[in-house]
């Protein structure tokens, strides 16, 4: 029964007690274990590879983080309310396919096409939220259904154009390659979304409600929190984030094919878990997911630099998750007893 939460706590700094014995230090560390892991990796990689610390590579890391990072923003919100969204990878395909087709085949302006693409993500999120909340079906089942259906829909749209659509309009090239004051727009979109989501979660009633619902949904209901609306909105925001990631992916690759976004839902969930957000809800935050994404991408980037074949990436990622969870659990246990 006793639900042991397997992740570190929220970012709120506990009032530091005067006597800094080893236990309170451990409690303190458990709050920041993700930060530590990210820092240690960062320094270690930098010291063992001269190229790692180069500006070009750091910018590259940020760009590599961007798509998974944006997916992670939405996924964090859904996981915080105790849900999960498996459909985000398919939404990446759908929004890319819709936007690309509208521009390429029907000569829509890129702005309008992008807006419609984003709207598609919102609709999928809304469907997820309504099925989970209004009909009480488990989010795993609902989003598994939409994952398959939405991928099929995206592929059907691509089929109009022989299953491939080029996304080479200057608008999209700017998203992928443009810079403002030397900083890549691509990564800027991600960072902007993180800042927005952070403010949303920490500084608005909606954010507070998300933590309350994830912590104790019934008590939130009894406190007058509009539980259903908040949860549905979380799914909608997750769908929106996924469609933004979809436009970004399409812009970066320059072409949308039927397998775009495949498996990205798991990259996003991995980033959230690595960051230390609890899969049972109520504990965590986007700042943690940002670090989780950074750890994930840094490791893969380092492997590439050192010439380790890409075939090892999946294995390494998997072990990374296990190690992250283990470190966190060990620190927590020492701190609690």
């Amino acid at each position: 029964m006793a639900k042991r939460v397997n992740s570190a706590v929220t970012f709120t700094k506990q009032s530091k007690s005067r006597n800094k014995n080893s236990r309170s230090l451990l409690v303190y560390l458990s709050d920041f274990s993700t930060v530590l892991v990210a820092l240690v990796l960062f320094v270690f990689f930098g010291l063992t590879s001269t190229y790692f610390f180069s500006t070009a590579n750091l910018v590259n890391i940020l760009k590599q983080m961007s798509v998974v990072g944006v997916l992670g923003v939405g996924m964090t919100m859904v996981i915080l309310i105790g849900g999960i969204d498996l459909s985000v990878g398919s939404v990446v395909l759908l929004s890319g396919a819709i936007t690309g087709t509208l521009v390429y085949n029907y000569s829509f302006s890129p702005w309008l096409a992008t807006t419609i693409g984003l709207f598609a993500g919102i609709i999928v999120g809304l469907i997820n939220g309504l099925f989970v909340e209004k009909f009480g079906i488990s989010p795993v089942i609902v989003t598994l259904g939409t994952m398959i259906a939405v991928r099929g829909l995206g592929q059907a749209i691509l089929w109009i154009n022989n299953s491939w659509v080029w996304v080479t309009n200057p608008f999209f090239i700017t998203i992928a390659e443009g810079r403002i004051l030397g900083f890549p727009i691509f990564a800027g979109i991600m960072i902007g979304l993180y800042i927005l989501a952070f403010i949303l979660l920490k500084q608005t009633p909606f954010g507070r409600y998300i933590y309350a619902i994830g912590g104790n949904q019934w008590a939130a209901h009894l406190s007058g929190v509009p539980v259903q609306r908040v949860k549905i909105l979380a799914y909608v925001l997750c769908g929106l984030a996924a469609s933004i990631a979809g436009i970004m992916t399409a812009s970066r690759i320059g072409v949308v094919g039927p397998s775009v976004g495949n498996g990205m839902e798991f990259d996003a969930i991995t980033a959230v878990v690595l960051g230390g957000t609890s899969l049972s809800g109520g504990i965590g935050g986007v700042e943690r997911t940002f670090l989780g994404t950074a750890i994930l991408v840094m490791v893969l980037n380092y492997m590439t630099i050192r010439g380790i074949p890409g075939i090892w990436q999946a294995a390494v990622t998997g072990f990374l998750i296990l190690i992250a969870v283990l470190i966190d659990r060990l620190i927590r246990r020492r701190a609690e007893v």
Partner: protein, 513 residues
């Protein structure tokens, strides 16, 4: 009984010290229990009772000190080891698995069978035997635990622990959800265990039970032992004074409450029925009064209270608020109409354990009070409001940022109270507001209820504890089998016996259903 040596302690705990970050929870506590005695542990919330028991049952490890059982020193580092040593614990919070049946729960992990397949027949027989030994016959073994009322769940919990071979039985506030009759029954059971030479450690806030049934007691205050004493001839007041460490006078509440003056009607309930639970209840609630509702377990009082907050199904009837008929279909509608409810189940129905004290207090008031346009939380005014209530209600917490998980039960209850005081609604409904709370905190909460009524709020308190109902109510409603059987307009004129008679449906002149 000649074989039984009841003067040598079976359990000795010496110099037990336990520190938590920033707190010395236990300070060189010495404690011993003899076979065949019921030993009470008495203390306010946060005095260290639960910590001491958790060390004994292997949940916590002591920082210093020794434990010996039957004269042999032992180390208990895990609840399993405690059970192997013959120490069984019944916790206040239930540890049952709600989706499993009664029988499955009692023999969880020890199911009879060949290791792969459970022998269902043997399982039922053994369960039956265990329950029969305990004199419990009213529980269906095949029912899922979640479908049982709380009191029966508690009995299952006790049966589960007693199905082991025990030398020492620890009961951590086992009676907080039991009615008087069930409590008496429980002690009947404890007496028979006592005769078998089992040492029983009993943690409770209820002095009456302690004095009636326990042989000796150990009083804890701020993590230290104040005294271990024979309970023969000790009075409730003496115990309370030892526990609090000061004279009692300031803690009495009665008489004052009858002086409340009621104002105009604020809520009118007409023909309220809840399928098979409540039948045709009619009453009017006035401004500035405290209505106490009591009755036997399952007489419908809890359902009635929950119906007024929109969390009860199958409710029919009319509710009139300030002259207008209203519908209450959800808590948010109830809150909109100025009604709030504090239930007895504060962990499951009230608290957000991972959130801070501040966040717990301000949650329902965020939008109405702490919004900085367009949609941000005004942190500084939020913090100020929370701190004010922490001070006003005397909540023991480092600061508003302390996580609720880390504070004691009585303070958690005050946090929920603070939440609704801040929301400042006109009608406050409490179900068992002082459940599992020590006398000191109880008195503070009663004081608060009184002040609220004085300020023109309407208060409803649902409670099975007759002294509480008699002590704080300006009117008393008695529920019997789903009907509002009696209304006492002058609580000061009736005795506990009269009230008890009404609750049991033995009233001579009341309305019969």
């Amino acid at each position: 009984m000649a074989l039984l040596d009841t003067s040598t302690p079976i359990l000795e705990m010496n110099g037990i010290t336990k520190r938590f970050p920033g707190v010395l929870a236990l300070d060189h506590v010495n404690f011993s229990v003899c076979p065949g005695e019921i030993h009470a542990i008495i203390g306010q919330n946060g005095a260290g009772k639960s910590t001491l028991m958790k060390i004994l049952s292997g949940v916590y490890n002591a920082d210093e000190g020794t434990i010996s059982i039957g004269g042999r020193p032992v180390r208990i580092t895990h609840p399993r080891e405690a059970l192997q040593l013959g120490i069984g614990t019944v916790y206040q919070e239930l540890s049952l698995l709600p989706k499993l049946t009664v029988a499955d729960n009692i023999f969880l992990g020890r199911e009879p069978g060949n290791g792969f397949v459970i022998n269902e027949k043997a399982l039922l027989e053994r369960t039956q035997a265990v329950l029969r030994d305990l004199g419990i016959t009213s529980i269906d073994l095949n029912v899922r635990v979640e479908d049982l009322p709380l009191a029966q769940q508690q009995l299952v919990e006790i049966a589960k622990v007693l199905s082991h071979e025990l030398k020492i039985l620890v009961l951590d506030e086992p009676t907080s959800s039991l009615s008087e009759k069930e409590t008496a029954h429980l002690f009947e059971l404890l007496k028979s265990l006592k005769q078998k030479g089992i040492a029983i450690i009993f943690v409770s806030h209820r002095f009456k039970e302690i004095l009636q049934y326990c042989d000796r007691g150990t009083v804890l205050r701020n993590g230290k032992v104040v005294k271990t004493l024979d309970l023969d001839g000790v009075t409730e007041d003496q115990l309370a004074e030892m526990m609090i460490g000061q004279k009692l006078e300031s803690f009495y509440y009665r008489d004052k409450h009858t002086s409340l003056e009621r104002g105009e009607a604020v809520l009118e309930v007409k023909n309220l029925s809840i399928r098979s639970k409540v039948k045709n209840v009619n009453f009017v609630l006035y401004r500035g009064e405290i209505v106490g509702i009591t009755g036997l377990l399952g007489a419908g009082q809890n359902e009635l209270a929950r119906a007024l907050f929109g969390i009860q199904e199958n409710v029919t009837g009319t509710i009139i608020r300030n002259g207008q008929e209203i519908k209450i279909r959800s808590p948010s509608e109830a809150i909109k109409h100025g009604i709030c409810l504090l239930t007895e189940n504060r962990k499951a129905e009230g608290l957000f354990l991972e959130m801070s004290v501040k966040e717990n207090i301000t949650l329902p008031s965020l939008v109405s009070r702490f919004l900085r346009p367009p949609f941000f939380i005004n942190n500084s005014s939020e913090e100020r409001a929370a701190n004010e209530f922490i001070k006003r209600l005397n909540i023991t917490a480092h600061s508003g940022r302390t996580r609720v998980r880390s504070i004691s039960g009585g303070n958690q209850q005050k946090i929920i109270l603070a939440r609704w005081l801040l929301k400042n609604l006109d009608i406050l409904i409490f179900i068992e507001p002082t459940r599992g709370i020590d006398v000191g905190t109880k008195a503070e909460i009663y004081q608060y209820l009184y002040r609220l009524a004085k300020d023109g709020k309407s208060i409803v308190v649902v409670s099975p504890e007759l002294p509480e109902i008699l002590g704080i109510s300006s009117r008393i409603f008695v529920m019997y089998k789903g009907t509002l059987a009696r209304v006492f307009d002058e609580p000061s004129l009736i005795s506990e016996e009269m009230l008890l008679a009404a609750i049991q449906g033995r009233n001579g002149n009341g309305k019969k259903s």
